[in-house]
């Protein structure tokens, strides 16, 4: 490839990026024409495009960007106050510039672009003559010609960027970054993953070699490899703004098309995600934005009647949260009408009215995600979150993420997506099924159980050929992983112990039977070879520490193979009723106190559960303590008065069970005799007494119970 080709290619990549940014800035000008930073931002970006055109000999591109730049210069200097028609023309010009870039990409020059440019230049009359309804106080008559000076000599106050600053700022940016092809990064990533595996094997082997120098070198290798992997991972991370920069324009155009007024605000565009994830969420995000405009936001006249501003507002917000990325799209439209969903569910006979009566509004909304529910006639009318929501949900879930919908009728809806940061490394359980070891992604796993002896007999219910697991108050279908996948296994007897993995996926729970849970580790996900693509049971391959190959099993795929279909009524309800999570109920940890009374602690206040040997207890003036996670954990006894210290001298057992509670002043430990279970019950905010499972139970809210404790 010649030198010029390379330069031109770089220019094109940069040009496309700049135009994306320009578009976004212009839309923000539309909302607030006086936004000096937006105007100068556009100006600066256009200016550098124009500058590059000069030495690349792109005449038409130069002419058009010059014209747009001139208009921006006049806006910046205050000669013109920008109105919708100005922005419209500027957007036209941006489209024209895009067309020219596409032309250059195919032809290598913009010679064929003369007609496009002259037409757009001719369209300038559309704004220059027109009196504009503008948001700023007055319109200054303007003239726009190619001769207008680029920069007004005295920028009005508020324009912070001077022309002189432009080249310096631009070149600094260029020096700090290097463009690298994606395939190079992918290769780096693959090599780093291989290095990790080699490292793991060396670490295993090094246990047998007792040489201090060798041991030190292995440790060094270990550290450097981990860091290298992290850095390479980071190179794959890109700000989410790259994906959603096109959305405001789409929302603007779409809403105009259907006679609505909508604005899309973006927050947290700097939030970074793995490149592959970014690509994968592009379509779902577009879909959600379209849905909001099409069905969520009402027509301006209706909105005015409801006392809402005529312009609908959609907010797209991204942030990092607990090792995950949260993306939230909220609108102030009409919201989701659960009564209409109920009616639709009944008319499609998806559930009986008895079933529906038991469901909370948020559970009713889950029907929106059902395939078929959305494609039926006029379902889009139901608050409009119908079309293809099942597709959105599936694509988010296939990325290991979750989607969640909430709405208040009349005031809007919120869709919340939670995604992992990267797909390349995931947490997984290594389990044995038959004579194979497979990996199960940890996302979606609710609980692990070992069933043996009498416990096994009690937990299992046979219905014909099918086996159900009694789990909490529900019966979950139990899928034998080895049998379903056809993994050969030795003959088993009815009393063999086995492990169960309870999985929550696609709005239902089911249980997977495995022989044994071997390990939990972070695994590097490798894609399936194309010969194995299309087997729903697998989502990838990984290599274990000893170099053995393990298949990554997709529990949803296995469930399908086992014949679990549909997403409703998968769990047969046990006779005892299941209270649902509503405003007044919450999950509680049921414990027995040191004085053999029952207490319940809200699960959200429980940080961890620990057991300490009594000889680890140390004593201070008022409270016994243990050293815990590099700090001091004071121990209290909830069977006493609020804030009562634990009386270790009276304690006869060799260990203490402790509920660890996080306070703003550090961790506190609540000693209990034993942990009984978790339940869902309604509780008062502050505590009180209730009946759980037939026993009088005191609700202990650590926040209030510990309130009197000195910090």
């Amino acid at each position: 490839m010649s030198e010029l080709d390379e330069t031109l290619r770089e220019f094109l990549i940069e040009g496309h990026e700049s135009l994306g940014q320009i578009e976004q800035l212009m839309l923000s000008m539309e909302n607030d024409a006086t936004r000096a930073d937006a105007v100068s931002g556009c100006f600066r970006l256009l200016h550098s495009i124009k500058g590059a055109c000069g030495f690349l000999g792109l005449r038409h591109l130069e002419e058009l960007s010059h014209a747009a730049e001139s208009l921006l210069a006049s806006i910046r200097s205050g000669e013109i106050t920008a109105g919708t028609s100005h922005i419209n023309w500027l957007l036209q010009a941006v489209d024209g510039l895009k067309k020219l870039l596409a032309l250059i990409e195919t032809d290598g020059s913009d010679n064929a672009g003369a007609a496009t440019v002259s037409q757009i230049l001719a369209n300038r009359s559309s704004y220059s003559q027109q009196a504009e309804p503008v948001k700023a106080p007055s319109t200054v008559p303007m003239r726009i010609t190619a001769e207008i000076a680029h920069i007004h000599p005295n920028p009005p106050s508020g324009t912070s960027i001077k022309h002189d600053d432009i080249p310096a700022g631009a070149s600094m940016l260029a020096e700090a970054t290097v463009r690298i092809g994606v395939e190079v990064i992918d290769r780096l990533m693959a090599l780093a993953s291989e290095l990790v595996l080699a490292r793991n094997r060396i670490m295993q082997a090094s246990d047998q070699i007792e040489d201090a120098g060798y041991q030190a070198a292995t440790r060094q290798l270990n550290l450097v490899t981990s860091e290298l992997q992290e850095v390479v991972m980071r190179t794959r991370m890109q700000p989410i703004a790259n994906v959603w920069s096109k959305l405001p324009r789409m929302v603007r155009d779409l809403s105009r098309q259907i006679g609505k007024q909508c604005r899309l605000d973006l927050e947290g565009g700097e939030t970074e995600l793995d490149k592959t994830l970014l690509e994968a969420i592009k379509a779902p995000l577009t879909h959600l934005a379209r849905n909001s405009v099409d069905h969520g936001i009402e027509l301006p006249s209706i909105r005015m009647g409801l006392g809402k501003p005529a312009e609908g507002k959609i907010v797209l917000r991204a942030s990092h949260e607990a090792g995950q990325v949260t993306i939230e799209m909220s609108d102030d439209g009409r919201g989701i009408d659960t009564d209409r969903i109920r009616a639709k569910v009944l008319s499609q006979r998806l559930a009986t009215s008895d079933d529906l009566a038991r469901l909370s509004d948020s559970q009713i909304m889950q029907y929106v995600f059902m395939p078929g529910f959305s494609t039926a006639d006029r379902v889009t009318e139901i608050s409009g979150r119908g079309v293809g929501m099942d597709v959105v949900k599936n694509s988010i879930e296939s990325l290991g993420g979750s989607i969640d919908l909430s709405s208040t009728l009349g005031t809007g809806a919120v869709v919340r997506l939670r995604l992992p940061l990267t797909l390349a490394i995931i947490k997984a359980l290594i389990v044995s099924a038959g004579n194979s070891a497979v990996a199960l992604p940890q996302a979606g796993i609710v609980e692990l159980m070992r069933l043996e002896g009498e416990r096994r007999t009690r937990a299992l219910t046979h219905v014909g050929d099918a086996v159900y697991l009694r789990f909490r108050s529900e019966l979950l279908p139990l899928i034998d992983l080895a049998k379903t996948m056809g993994i050969p296994c030795s003959q088993e007897s009815d009393t063999d112990a086995f492990s169960v993995v309870v999985v929550h996926a696609e709005n239902r729970q089911f249980a997977l039977r495995v022989n044994k849970i071997l390990d939990s580790q972070e695994i590097v996900v490798k894609p399936l070879p194309s010969l194995l693509k299309g087997i729903p049971a697998y989502s990838g391959i990984t290599l274990l520490g000893d170099g053995a190959i393990a298949l990554i099993v997709d529990p949803v795929g296995v469930a399908r193979l086992a014949g679990l279909q549909g997403r409703r009524n998968q769990a047969i309800r046990d006779d005892s009723k299941t209270p649902e999570l509503t405003k007044n109920t919450r999950p509680l940890l049921l414990v027995e106190t040191t004085r053999n009374r029952m207490q319940a602690i809200p699960l959200e206040s429980v940080d961890r559960l620990e057991v300490f040997p009594v000889n680890r207890l140390e004593h201070t003036d008022d409270t016994p303590v243990v050293q815990y996670r590099g700090g001091i954990l004071p121990l209290y006894d909830t069977s006493g008065h609020p804030g009562c210290p634990f009386d270790a001298e009276r304690w006869t057992s060799g260990t203490v069970s402790v509920v660890v509670h996080q306070t703003p002043h550090g961790l506190k430990g609540l000693v209990v005799a034993r942990i009984v279970d978790t339940v869902i019950e309604s509780v008062e905010e502050t505590g009180g007494i209730t009946i759980i499972r037939g026993s009088v139970t005191q609700i202990v809210v650590p926040e209030t119970w510990l309130a009197g404790v000195p910090q």
Partner: protein, 147 residues
């Protein structure tokens, strides 16, 4: 300008002399443990770990309609296919031969259908026939399976 000779990497399966263009072969490796893949199509024998890369091992004998024999000597020909690598377990590895292109002929009409389908050409070596495999067709499912 076309080459006048071809370099073919040759190997044997059930006594049959087969070959692949040297340019399609990445390497020949020994003693690869094959991890079986439940639910895999019959053409996939399993997966092998080649220095941290996971490759599918293709069941060559099944693909070209030969009897499966328990003579796993653990020699694999690693085949380049696009950006992917594919492992091909064989009974024994022979040699790399350079052959004049005028000796290249179409595979004989009377070959077993699934074998003929996987062949790109036949080379007359004087005392025996070398069947050159077509990597692209080789990793497709057997045609008889599709009908």
């Amino acid at each position: 300008m076309t080459e006048t000779t071809s370099r073919i990497c040759t190997f044997r399966v059930n006594g049959l002399l087969l070959g692949l263009k040297v340019s399609d072969v990445q390497e020949v490796v020994k003693s690869q443990h094959i991890t079986p893949v439940p639910l895999a199509p019959p053409i996939v024998l399993g997966l092998v770990n080649l220095r941290g890369l996971v490759l599918p091992a293709v069941n060559l004998k099944w693909r070209i309609g030969l009897q499966s024999t328990e003579n796993d000597c653990g020699i694999h020909v690693v085949l380049r296919h696009g950006t992917e690598l594919i492992s091909l377990p064989v009974d024994s590895i022979e040699d790399v031969v350079t052959l004049d292109n005028h000796r290249r002929a179409n595979p004989p009409e009377n070959l077993h259908l699934s074998l003929r389908d996987a062949c790109a050409a036949a080379w007359d070596l004087g005392n025996q026939l070398l069947l050159e495999l077509d990597p692209e067709r080789l990793i497709r499912q057997r045609d008889s399976e599709n009908t």
